[in-house]
Symmetry: C2
Subunit: 310 residues, 2 copies
């Protein structure tokens, strides 16, 4: 992918994207360490599994989208911590459940044994269940005004249930072995399965800030950005699943093909999939046109998500 | 159990408890039929499983507690519908997950095949996950003021996660085979596993009504009622697990003993367990002393929950 051609504008006086992203990821990790149930508290094994599922892993794309979305509306770090934890808890719970034998039966995730391998199936299921509750709890117990807290919880619930992540996952299950899936079907599935939570991350960041800065127009721009980048992320995932090794990915490579799952690569072909990822990135950037320097990190994140190698 | 000794005061002009409960259960069923994702909508199989897990089953104790709690603060029916759906969705998801092979591996529930038997394991897990999200969604999309909606979601999250239902379930898992569990350990486990959501049901009903009627004192009284009745319900469950048949219960009888799980009966003995259930009922009724006729349905529910035969 020719990613170098796009120049990310960086506002004067701010740190580079890499430095910003590293600092935000570190901030997220510290917040998660602090706010997840303690491993020493009863029930210990459940808490250990919840911490194992969340800590020390992944690119933290969703938390970064929350923090970048928060820059658009001048959100406070403490509020963004909670929104970032909430989306990452939901993401982590979905991975713990998806990896179980009755679903994808995967043993490697983020370079570590999956939760049911490191613990056991019952604990993995329960840790996932508890993480979903914890996601809403961390939003409910924050200090934002109730109207904002309620809108964050609404956004998260809509993105993670049957109209979003779980619904997409169910369509994915039904699609196994269906190599005749159309592009439109595939797009719809991914819009729900991964796109909805990525989009919600951006919006929840923005919803955590100053309400007057989140005009209807700004909200729509962020939604369009989230839609495009949410799909682009999945297209790149499908490309990397073919072109990368398990060691690079930190998870089992080539498993979609092995499971008979339709992907962007199997439906479009590799070259067209790469072109589609760049087109979606362009759509994402275009959506931010009116937002000026407040959206710098979101622009940089679009590049980061499309040009990554793992 | 000598339940007939306790007279439930019924306020003049109101219908009998049985009539009230039947009408409320019917109302709940209609709301669930209407508000659950449609079986005809994509992803159909997921929606069918969600509906199967919730509809046409159970005593609806939690919804009844919501409606009875709402009488204390004059809550509107439409708001109570949503609170009732939310707690029952959480209850239904926990049953679908608990019945799976990696947990209790049960095949019969509410007189029907369990969700993973009627569908498959992946769908049962996903339907449970989606029902938990749906529980928060149904609260988030209601018409109550944001402060009330947020407090309902906080209550539900705290009752269902690691500090409540999931945490209790994890302690339960760890307790299998431990027939030396103390009474205090058992009480703590059940306070979390089943008590927290039963107590939350009462409070969420009350929180759905007129805020000025929910004074700190009233809230504390309802919490004490919820604590006591939440435990009493489990004591009676343990008694019925020994004394009833599977046909009466609509689920596999005697399974706790078969699984080597400590119960109130195994820890206290049958007679002491029965005495303890009556003591808890008395505590529940005592907590309502200051609430007058507004708490009539809660008093009747305490009797219903302790004196049931299934």
């Amino acid at each position: 992918m020719s990613c170098a051609a796009v120049v990310s504008p960086t506002s004067a006086g701010t740190v580079s994207f890499d430095t910003w992203a590293a600092e935000r990821a570190e901030r997220f990790e510290a917040a998660a360490q602090r706010m997840l149930p303690l491993a020493a508290a009863v029930p210990q094994r459940l808490h250990e599994a919840m911490r194992y599922a969340v800590l020390d892993g992944g690119k933290r794309v969703r938390p970064l989208l929350v923090f970048a979305g928060g820059e658009v509306t001048g959100a406070e770090d403490e509020a963004l911590d909670r929104a970032a934890l909430a989306v990452e808890y939901v993401h982590a719970y979905s991975l713990a459940h998806d990896d179980m034998p009755c679903m994808d039966n995967d043993v490697l995730r983020r370079g570590k044994p999956t939760v049911h391998v490191a613990f056991d199936e019952a604990t993995a299921m329960l840790a996932g269940d508890a993480l979903q509750a914890e996601a809403f709890k961390v939003l409910a117990e924050g200090t934002l005004p109730a109207a904002q807290a309620a809108s964050l919880m609404r956004e998260l619930a809509q993105a993670s249930g049957t109209t979003g992540m779980c619904g997409g996952q169910a369509i994915d299950l039904a699609a196994v072995g269906n190599m005749n899936m159309t592009f439109a079907d595939l797009e719809r599935m991914h819009r729900m399965k991964t796109g909805a939570l990525l989009k919600a991350s951006v919006l929840m960041g923005a919803l955590s800030g100053q309400a007057p800065l989140l005009t209807e127009c700004t909200r729509e721009a962020l939604a369009r950005y989230g839609d495009a980048i949410g799909l682009a992320f999945q297209v790149v995932d499908d490309i990397l699943d073919v072109e990368s090794t398990s060691a690079d990915l930190g998870k089992t490579a080539g498993k979609d093909a092995a499971h008979g799952k339709p992907t962007y690569v199997s439906v479009l072909g590799m070259e067209a999939a790469k072109a589609w990822s760049l087109r979606l990135r362009a759509q994402a950037l275009e959506a931010l046109n009116g937002l000026g320097a407040r959206a710098t990190r979101l622009r940089e994140l679009a590049d980061f998500m499309v040009c990554r190698s793992h």
